[in-house]
Symmetry: C2
């Protein structure tokens, strides 16, 4: 079953709400309650939840623990996710220091950069390796996804190295649209008949800032009257 991407986003939200309910020892909830907290309609919640299965009780609602477990399963968060961070500048350091292990089974397994000034140093007990070692590292350790935190002008080239190394899932922090690597020359095609369905999710605060400007946009006057 293919879940609409808008629904996937909301499932992440519902999961957070369920976590908080569980923290507050609330055992039971309903589509109306979830809708209120997620700022969507109860219709939407119920429709979304049909994608995770029938886990509600008519006239009653949902059991927090059950619904939480099922959403985790559907999202794949019960699996272990080995992550490398590529680009250990300011942002890479900040992300590396984030306690991602508290979020299900995500785990940083490697840090990479090309700058000789940071290669060899360590962050949170993990050494920063040179990008040239990435393919071997992936082959040896197995890596499920990469967080790409390089400057925007290097993002495309870095993404292509990731794919070459065998990483097909990228969380892209650079303010750029990553383009699929162009199967370098025809000879390479036969060499890699495997899947290269590259998946990219973007985290982009500059884009968010500009969208916000649009929605805030004052009625086309430089200095409007006060509020």
């Amino acid at each position: 079953m293919t879940i609409p991407s808008a629904t996937v986003s909301r499932l992440v939200t519902y999961l957070r709400i369920l976590e908080e309910l569980e923290l507050n020892e609330v055992k039971h909830t309903s589509s109306g309650d979830l809708a209120e907290q997620a700022q969507v309609t109860a219709f939407q919640v119920r429709k979304d939840l049909t994608y995770v299965g029938r886990h509600g009780t008519r006239g009653k609602g949902y059991t927090v623990a059950v619904l939480k477990r099922e959403i985790i399963r559907v999202l794949g968060l019960n699996q272990r996710w080995k992550v490398v961070i590529v680009g250990m500048g300011r942002l890479g350091h900040a992300i590396a220091n984030f306690p991602v292990a508290t979020e299900y089974q995500f785990e940083y397994t490697g840090l990479f950069d090309v700058d000789p000034k940071v290669v060899g140093t360590a962050v949170g007990g993990l050494p920063i390796r040179h990008m040239s070692q990435l393919p071997q590292f992936v082959a040896e350790h197995g890596v499920d996804m990469a967080f790409l935190t390089v400057p925007p002008e290097r993002a495309q080239a870095a993404a292509e190295k990731l794919v070459e190394a065998g990483i097909y899932s990228i969380l892209n922090f650079a303010p750029t649209v990553l383009r699929p690597p162009q199967l370098q020359d025809e000879k390479e095609i036969s060499k890699t008949p495997e899947r290269h369905n590259v998946t990219v999710e973007n985290v982009d605060f500059l884009a968010g800032m500009k969208r916000l400007a649009y929605y805030t946009r004052k009625p086309d006057r430089p200095e409007a009257e006060d509020i």
Copy 2:
């Protein structure tokens, strides 16, 4: 004219591409070219661009400088945007150090926190003020939007303070759904008949990470049975 939110996002992307073209002294482009770089269809680009006006030349394409200027105008990026950052922990510091002034006319005008350990210190020449000073600061300086970088459990309360202080546009970095402030008590309603259309844009790397897990989720799953 109301622009679809998906189009607004893509306009930001097109703008970036136009900036890069201009940097490379490319004077001229086309919907096909933009589509390739933005990873959408040429149909999509042309449809999106109808929302900014008719600036193309049939048989020829678009002038980079003209299209760039018009998108900037439509997005409101020709206006000046005064920003405060609320929450000066690790993330707030990182954001405050980002050279946002290079991105059109966004400008940090104030930094706020509640922690006595950071209030009074400065970042990039700007002092960190206590949240209690926010309403007065907004009244004196005028503030267009806030970047909310507090811990998730404080995000809702902080957002309500922002709205009380007169800031209705929030770039929310916390992994939470912000709910509209519940017009505190009936007596307050008459006091503030003004607009309180709060606009929120979210920047949420944990959500992106979990969505990525879903799309990466392999059909050949290690453990667990299916239904």
